[in-house]
Symmetry: C2
């Protein structure tokens, strides 16, 4: 059982170190191999997703990623930007199913900017298609037309792409509260009219799951108005990018939220929902819990080890109950700790 | 001075009746002519933007619209859906600049699902490009390819389209707090890389305005995390659809929010930000204030009558201070009124 470990940029290496300590402590005979992705890879090789990493990632059963990107690489040509590494590995490994839970931990309820009654008990799973849509559509580019610059991109989905992610979402809903809300913009975009049609066609195969549809603008509103109405949401790559970030922020503690990106055989890439936070990188203050919880998702989805996954998640809940907080989730009356101390606390709680 | 009045569907006719009473009371010698748009127009003529309305709208100086759409027309073929009427009139009249204020009225602070300290004093203006982007891009459609359905749409912008909306946004920021945040997804979409480039190129012409850039996923988060960081936001048609609805909902009282859609000569279409609310249509309980405030925007932007605009806005603030509330903004201790009574109260306060 091989895990490819990609610490990445910014706070990536620090938070990854703690997740690796947790994995080691489980003593599950994983083989861990480290590689470069994003800005770190650009610096070393000129390529954000270098051949060596590609080989490692392809051979591994799962990939654990810290975070990529930072202002240092923002002015590089498109092909060398850290994000291209992330998009490259997603596409290369066919990781079409992105699962992003937005969970409010009761201990951190105050962190939300929303009123407690609106978000208490919040537990949404966003299922985002990750290898299609306008992210990868051709043709695309910036050209000169009629004497001026013209930028263009192509949104597209085939029915099999939609069906594939639809099944993942229906299956996920089946294991939860059996409500699935599919998000589209069918009143304007034909691509998402097809999206709605295919979701509707799938629905009879999952009679135990209630399927509803919502327009993306309304979904962005409803997440603010009454987020607890949602159980599982499924949507395309572009809308999923926006809505999953909005949903994460409802909890107020994005430093706590893991994510999984899966292929058709449950091989997956696991990463925290937050970014590389260059402003606090190297200071030992970043919150490693989202990365540790990403490792738990890996145990569950790729290695089918529910017991180990729950063990890690329980340990995380325990350290929260014990009052340990990194700076991002700190409030008076709790114990402020750094990245490594938080890792220590999780290890102790395991 | 001609105003084309399009009551539309659902609660449209009821709320429009009150706005028309307010306009009449100003005694400004407007000529009002009524037309059909959306579902009402489909029912009468089979076309959501019929020729007669087109003629009326083209000849008028401004258009005042209630709302369009409803479940009744959802299963019609694409070309006959009410929304096509709305998209049609926007494109036909070249209404490229959509201005959507998200303002929290102090009297309605409780209506927000966000904590008071996060939203008190909120005053954001979203400038959304309205006649380009993936909304109108060709090619588009659903086809059969390789034995399965394939849906596709085209996002595009020319630099002149971006420059045109950019200028509107810079000018608006100049009249406010001089901060403009341009929202894009330049790390993935070439179209929006061009968007960022053109905004950056415009910036030196407006040295008094501070221009910043934000990725759309981050903008969706920041609106929840700390909305008061924004003064004016400018973005494309698709992202603007999502973010402006999210921003409206931060106030908790979308029944209060007007909008303006302007062409290059300040001819405009004015409409409430909320929808046609078919569930409460015909009951006389809908909130007419967003439509009345849309009429105020019309007085300001198209008719350049700041005094009359302010007079209407002041009257609306007064009825709020007096405690009058329609059902959508009602809370214990205030006086619940219906649509017509709310109109009466505004007239009395004028
Ligand atoms: C970095 C960027 C390309 C990426 C995306 O847009 O998918 C990120 O925002 C995410 O959601 O993982
Ligand atoms: C009804 C629909 C076509 C429209 C849009 O997407 O532009 C609406 O959502 C809006 O924002 O005015």
């Amino acid at each position: 059982m091989k895990i490819c470990v990609l610490p990445g940029d910014g706070i990536g290496p620090e938070i990854m170190a703690e997740a690796v300590r947790v994995i080691d402590a489980l003593d599950l005979k994983f083989e861990l191999e480290e590689g470069l992705l994003g800005g770190a890879a650009v610096d070393a090789t000129g390529d954000p997703y270098p051949e060596a990493t590609r080989k490692l990632a392809r051979e591994a059963d799962a990939v654990l990623l810290g975070a990529v990107g930072g202002p240092k690489w923002d002015s590089l040509p498109r092909e060398q930007r850290p994000e291209r590494g992330l998009l490259g590995i997603r596409k290369d490994l066919c990781l079409f199913a992105n699962l992003r839970p937005a969970i409010l931990y009761p201990e951190l309820a105050n962190a939300s900017t929303l009123k407690p009654e609106v978000v208490s008990g919040l537990d949404i799973l966003i299922v985002r298609e990750l290898t299609g849509d306008i992210y990868f559509g051709q043709p695309r580019g910036i050209e000169n037309r009629n004497g001026e610059r013209y930028g263009f991109n192509t949104m597209h989905y085939t029915e099999s792409e939609i069906r594939r992610i639809g099944r993942v979402a229906f299956e996920a809903a089946r294991k939860r509260n059996k409500r699935l809300c599919s998000v589209d913009k069918m009143n304007v975009l034909e691509t998402t009219q097809l999206w709605r049609d295919v979701m509707t066609e799938l629905s009879p195969e999952y009679p135990d799951v209630e399927l509803t549809h919502m327009l993306v603008d309304n979904a962005a509103m409803q997440l603010v108005r009454a987020p607890k109405q949602f159980d599982v949401m499924v949507t395309g790559n572009m809308f999923g990018d926006i809505l999953s970030d909005e949903a994460s922020m409802l909890t107020g503690s994005i430093g706590m939220l893991p994510s999984a990106s899966l292929d058709a055989n449950n091989k997956g890439l696991y990463e925290p929902s937050h970014g590389s936070a260059p402003d606090i990188a190297g200071k030992g203050v970043a919150n490693p819990l989202a990365t540790i919880l990403s490792a738990a998702m890996m145990l569950r989805y790729t290695f089918n080890n529910e017991a180990a996954a729950t063990r890690v998640e329980t340990a995380v809940k325990k350290v929260l109950a014990q009052g340990y907080r990194t700076g991002d989730i700190y409030e008076p009356g709790t114990t402020k700790v750094g990245t490594k101390q938080m890792g220590d606390a999780v290890l102790a709680a395991l």
